[in-house]
Subunit: 109 residues, 2 copies
């Protein structure tokens, strides 16, 4: 098994339709996570690597935020060499929670 596939194994994703409103709201009720989502909303899919985000947190906290966003069905991640790329799961999250992203990340804090 390559190092890349070993890393990829650790990436657990949740489908938005499987996510409860409570988990979705908990994920969105954090300013750092909203800043990540707004950043992704402003870029094409799979063009933003985790390391590219300018976040005022430690590396461990950064990893935690991305894990929370995956578990809430808000982002998808895949490894590309040393980079972990991200995609906002907008269409499928919007279908599961109509209007919630519009009301939270399509506006300023």
């Amino acid at each position: 098994m390559s190092a890349d596939s070993a890393r990829a194994r650790t990436l657990v994703h949740t489908e938005p339709v499987e996510v409860s409103l409570q988990v979705a709201l908990d994920a969105l009720a954090d300013p750092v996570r909203r800043s990540i989502l707004r950043d992704l909303a402003g870029h094409d899919d799979w063009t933003r690597a985790c390391g590219a985000f300018d976040l005022p947190v430690t590396k461990a906290t950064r990893s935690h935020h991305f894990a929370v966003l995956r578990a809430a069905g808000l982002i998808e991640q895949r490894d590309d060499g040393a980079r972990r790329l991200n995609r906002l799961r907008r269409p499928e999250f919007d279908q599961a929670f109509p209007g919630l992203l519009a009301a939270t990340i399509d506006r300023a804090d």
Copy 2:
């Protein structure tokens, strides 16, 4: 000063337009508070007293939840004798946070 006006003095309200998205999301990210808001959404203004809500929490926790909802601009309260009546501030909250109530309390958890 009457007992009623002494009680009423403690009722601090915040206008929705003065509320941050963070405070609004924190208020909505609690299942007991969402159940209070859904209950109010299903009744006419000023017809629901605090004591009428069937909530699985202590009286102190109940008071805390109502205070959080006031501070987030989500409810208005006024005392009527021994009863504290409630109103969902739907029009003004919707104006400050378009679509947020629709995405959270107009659906099931």
